[in-house]
Symmetry: C2
Subunit: 429 residues, 2 copies
């Protein structure tokens, strides 16, 4: 099989092309489930080498994608996510090598026990099978997601955004070269060969060929996938993260954590969008915290109580409490203690990451227990919500669903398990 070309929308029968893709993926998944750790690591390292060797080609493809996007009027953070440079290419290659260095989760014995009737039961980690990944403009997801699926013994079907199609294809070529070099099936990482939007609809109904769908992108994409998919979805939803500055907060710590949580990088899902501040300390704490943000160019939108403290605060409207700004904008609300904070979060969070700043450990424990989010923090910046920062290696995203594996999704989270029962002729009475 050669690397599939990007066909024009008219000369391809989407349904049959996707079925073929699915059949190849299913066969590849069976081989990948049995692939040795050495072979998988060799493929990852070879792919990293090809990415470095092909960097001129990848940059040329990227320049074409960027030029086309600019022509369509794309700009700002969207354009930034699309653009590659030498540093980003090196970071992709290094990312694949880092994944090679991670422990192989496949075959891990998660539990073993004997039954009184002599049956020996064990729970063994196995790959998920075929993972369909649907993403938007970031072309590096091609390498990150492909690499994580490869290491965890899965086959991947990648469907990237139209804007980054040429770049993703160039990166995909390198991944396939890596698989070939290691003697693994090329179809272990495939790209959907058309940018026809209908292909996504077909993909979401391929229950016989795809085991799990991982959408990675904005709210619109995730909601479409969740509504349409007949396959189980491991959703990486938006991060509408909160910092709550409690009456027991140390002011300096509150300033540093709020500033870092909002401003370190505003475009990531762990960036804080709303600051909640206890009315008991609003007079002493709010102005210095806001001052840091405004000096760094952050727009502060507040409720009336916050506006009363500092006239640089502009009025927040109702939508601001539910908006993932992904920009240098923060919404500020004055609440009545930890109860007020927990209540506001319950109505507005996206179950991603929330942090309390306080020296009062009893208050902190209430917050940690009662806030229903995948990650809850005490005296730490929400920007630590990241698989790498958690010590789990690379991640494909942060899952905010309740099933399977909330939080960072790395190689371990891209596996499942099965029960192996060993008997000596037992029958059930």
């Amino acid at each position: 099989m050669s690397v599939p070309s990007i066909a024009s929308d008219t000369d391809i029968d989407v349904q049959s092309a996707m079925t073929e893709l699915g059949e190849r993926a299913r066969a590849a998944a069976q081989a990948m489930a049995r692939a040795s750790t050495d072979a998988k690591n060799a493929a990852l390292r070879a792919a990293a080498a090809v990415i470095r060797a092909n960097s001129a080609d990848i940059l040329a493809a990227n320049a074409q994608d960027v030029a086309a996007a600019k022509q369509r009027g794309v700009k700002g953070s969207f354009l930034d996510r699309l653009m590659l440079d030498d540093k980003r290419i090196e970071s992709m290659a290094k990312g694949l090598e880092d994944v090679a260095a991670l422990a192989d989760p496949v075959g891990d014995v998660l539990g073993e026990w004997d039954r009184p009737n002599g049956l020996k039961i064990s729970r063994i980690r196995v790959p998920l099978g075929v993972i369909g990944i649907i993403y938007e403009s970031r072309p590096n997801v091609t390498a990150d997601a492909g690499g994580l699926c490869l290491k965890s013994g899965n086959a991947a079907i990648l469907r990237g955004g139209t804007e980054s199609a040429l770049t993703s294809r160039a990166i995909h070529t390198a991944l396939v070269e890596g698989l070939k070099a290691a003697g693994l099936p090329e179809a272990a990482i495939q790209m959907v060969p058309t940018q026809d939007r209908a292909a996504v609809g077909v993909m979401l109904r391929m229950v016989d060929y795809i085991d799990v769908i991982v959408p990675r992108g904005g709210r619109g994409l995730i909601e479409r996938v969740q509504q349409e998919s007949q396959i189980q979805v491991l959703a990486h939803l938006e991060g509408l993260c909160h910092v709550y500055v409690d009456r027991g907060a140390d002011l300096d710590m509150a300033r540093q954590i709020t500033f870092n949580a909002k401003m370190r990088r505003t475009g990531i899902c762990g960036a804080t969008e709303t600051l909640l501040i206890d009315k008991a300390v609003v007079n002493t704490h709010l102005e210095p915290i806001i001052d840091d943000l405004i000096k760094a160019g952050c727009e502060v939108r507040g409720d009336e109580a916050a506006q009363a403290i500092d006239d640089r605060v502009v009025p927040a409207d109702d939508a601001d409490w539910d908006t993932e700004f992904l920009d240098a904008i923060i919404a500020v609300k004055v609440v009545d203690g930890v109860d007020g904070a927990i209540d506001h979060i319950a109505h507005h969070n996206s179950r991603h990451t929330e942090s309390i700043v306080t020296e009062d450990s009893a208050t902190a424990e209430r917050f940690l227990n009662e806030v229903d989010s995948v990650i809850v923090m005490h005296n730490a910046s929400t920007q630590f919500a990241d698989g790498g920062e958690f010590g789990m290696g690379a991640e494909i995203g942060i899952s905010t669903g309740k099933l399977h594996s909330p939080g960072p999704v790395g190689v371990e989270q891209l596996t499942t398990f099965k029960y192996v029962v060993r008997g000596t002729g037992q029958t059930r009475p």
Copy 2:
């Protein structure tokens, strides 16, 4: 709140009734997540006592349900699943007491580690939240599912079959009495107050109020739920289980395992539906195995090779390899060794439970590794596929999906986890 009555389809606004139910469930789930183990166990034991005390009422309600079902021409295994007697009522009560005796999974620390920057990360088990359970004729699911959700700190919204509506309502009354006696919110276990089919459609879109949907029933129900649900589904699919008798099988063991796997109880999901037999031993092993089955009243449908061995074998048609008979019928196919068995299973299994009978451990390991099912067995009856037999206590079903928790779903599997991060002011560089 009093126990909701079963309103007629015309005098209720399904949508608003369901929203109210959802709001009550969400509030109850918050209380249940923080409920003590003692309170939860007291509720379970009190409910068991009320079930015993109310057994005459429950049987009377059941008699009405059964009479109505008979009038509609219902019979056979469906009617059997609907009918209660003193023994089944005692078994429900005992089931709740057994769940009380299980360890409380909520709050378990699943992992703890420190990061070089001083952050302390732990993974803590928490309830799923609100679980929607949709089931069919068995009224005992009301007690089983309600009890498991209660113990795992969740709120439950139960939607049972119309045929068992009065019985389920009588059982539900006992569960609510148990919650009241323990000071827990009555809304922790609610029943959908209408049998209007539209209520299921509404339930499957209640993304704000229900966290996980657990369908329990036949293929039609599961498929409808998987197609319509906008909420994550923990599906208990059918069990199209296989026994493969390998050339290395001990004949006596093969006879006993096959007989038990098929005939011990034919109506459960762990019952075997297809026997695969290695062509290398078909002349010696098939006739004695079939003989046991036929003498016990089992119909044997075979391929041509099986028919050639014994003229009591009737022809199997293509659909038989994909049919969960749930009855004294078995499909028999002659295959070419373990490769033939693995290949047939890959095309026809439902990922539930498959067993190999062989004394050859290398062959057994290949089968255990390569068959993609939630439970794979060596020299044991597929009828052991059961949470109780696995030592996990009661179960709500066997999940055959890849995400979350394949296999028996008991109290532990009705939980999820969150990450708790404790810092001392850390910000991300």
